[in-house]
Symmetry: C2
Subunit: 356 residues, 2 copies
């Protein structure tokens, strides 16, 4: 059955049933003009919004509707993680052509539901609209954080060491594999691993909260547009520079072993590092730590599942890379620009800025 | 200059400059992973989200980018009004093709800014993405309300009188005029009035807040999809019926005088009433009042600019219309369904539901 037959109201009815919630702080949930929630005393409310657009952020040839539902929640949770916050509520806005099937939408909503439930997030409201051609998703995530724990982009200081969680570049490499192969193709375990990292990037909520509550991270951001772009954001907000130890950037064994060719707009001649620097969608945390807190970090991190790696340090100005021979050169390029994917990335000197 | 040249980062930079705010409860505004705000003690947080999609909700042949910016804020404010709330913060998500001009986007953002400022709303965050073809806007509005004042859809009881603010049908009639005439056409003052009601539907924030704080409205909703659909929502949530006094439905003198032909999907043979019942986008408030509060309402309302009209009463079940001869018939149809605009509206018996 097509959505055009089920109709807007039927679709909303399905969504309403899907997202019933028992969180006692939800005074009004889905089904009225607004949702109403009771903020917890002593907490700030944090809010972030992000869109996923068909043909830009995803291609339905490569991602299943269920996975897309999960991912659209996860990428917003990643922003909450990057502040050290606790996610709580989501508002879901869907713009979808009437030709889409009810089955597609059910699967998508199931993904949103399960992605949210995994991190104890309640969907409290939303909106469904039709579109002529394109399918897009917009999620607003609300959460809480204590003022004393909040970690901003602007907290970096000269001398801070730069860290990342996990491994970089897998997601962009996974997307390249998807784009270059047939859906039916039998894939190796390594390929499947990279693809999964693209389709289902777990938000580093536990890690972000830990770094905030233990007062270890001085500044933090999640890597959505590639390390090159996101370290720039930290530096611009903090009015500092950075030196990245290029050979320290953590690449997964799968990425190193497969070493897939990087696409034209990433081609920097650095193999897997091209994906890590310019690929984006890793949703790992990038954070800086004062030198006198490094030991504390190393000791406390022992119990965590996801590794962290020191990849550089904060400097007075400019963004440079240093290789293991000790040669330092300016970082030439930035991450992917959705608005002009076919033009070469801007040289370092040109001004670009932070996400809104 | 095209957005493709300015780029995502430049566009965001422009938006960031546009939306600087001085609200002291904003701890983190635009420019980090999340916005952070300090909730006021004793208030619930309310949240609503709504999308406007090119080709579905608006046509750039009929609306200027500035007007579109204003309207996209106003339609969300209308949801806050319908609960009796105080609007405070907005998150703006824009999905736009790279071929759009920077001038277009500047004008649009100016509209968002001024629409928000008019009602003391601060834009605290957002997101900009490109799309292949379609332009769409998603706004999430956050506000506050005291628990004791909140007005829901489900509060209607048998015997309540049904009221609306302002005049119904102008917006849909204005849209018809826009669709049927050339942009350059010289229009009469009456036509311009209806068109303005479509392009710039002021949210009834003052009125909604008043009805909540004075504890007059027992249930309330804003009319976004036409009276026929929205009274249904009140009735379904409250598990009651309604009888509408069809000749009491307030039509503006402009609508009555112009009496534009209603389009095929609205054609109900009732002239201006077709627009009022099935047209939508009025963004007037529809609310019910207990019989013993009618006198209080009439006295207290004296100072308000926007008139209110009693248009019916809540009954045990079914949705009917009664004309001035006293003839009562079931209300046959509902408002516009974006998902199947070309199929006839469902007959009354079929199940449709509430917005999410």
């Amino acid at each position: 059955m097509k959505l055009s037959r089920l109709g807007e109201f039927g679709l909303i009815e399905n969504a309403k049933d899907t997202f019933k919630s028992l969180n006692k702080n939800i005074v009004v949930g889905i089904g009225d003009d607004c949702a109403a929630i009771k903020p917890r005393k002593g907490f700030l409310l944090i809010a972030t919004t992000d869109a996923l657009v068909e043909g830009i952020h995803f291609n339905l040839d490569y991602i299943e509707p269920y996975q897309l539902g999960v991912k659209s929640v996860y990428i917003n949770l990643s922003d909450i993680a990057a502040m050290g916050g606790i996610p709580l509520y989501a508002l879901l806005s869907i713009v979808v052509p009437p030709s889409f099937s009810v089955k597609f939408m059910d699967d998508f909503l199931k993904g949103v539901k399960e992605g949210a439930q995994k991190y104890k997030v309640s969907v409290i409201g939303g909106n469904v609209s039709s579109s002529k051609n394109e399918f897009s998703i917009n999620i607003t995530l609300l959460g809480e954080i204590e003022k004393k724990y909040i970690v901003l982009r602007k907290g970096a200081k000269i001398g801070d060491k730069i860290f990342v969680t996990g491994w970089l570049g897998d997601s962009a490499a996974g997307m390249e594999i998807l784009k270059r192969s047939q859906k039916s193709e039998v894939r190796s375990q390594k390929e499947r691993k990279l693809i999964e990292r693209h389709l289902m990037p777990y938000p580093r909520l536990k890690e972000g909260r830990f770094l905030a509550v233990k007062k270890i991270a001085a500044s933090m951001i999640d890597i959505s547009d590639g390390l090159a772009s996101d370290i720039r954001r930290i530096c611009e907000e903090s009015k500092v520079g950075a030196n990245l130890f290029i050979d320290n950037i953590p690449l997964s064994k799968e990425l190193k072993s497969l070493n897939p060719p990087s696409p034209p707009f990433l081609k920097g001649g650095m193999g897997g590092l091209d994906f890590a620097l310019y690929g984006g969608e890793d949703y790992e945390l990038l954070f800086t730590v004062r030198p006198d807190k490094i030991a504390k970090l190393m000791i406390l991190w022992k119990g965590m599942k996801i590794p962290i790696t020191m990849i550089g340090e904060i400097t007075k100005g400019g963004i440079n890379i240093t290789n293991k021979k000790g040669e330092t050169t300016p970082l030439q390029r930035e991450g992917y620009n959705h608005f002009s994917p076919l033009t070469p990335p801007l040289p370092f000197g040109e001004r670009r800025k932070d996400i809104m």
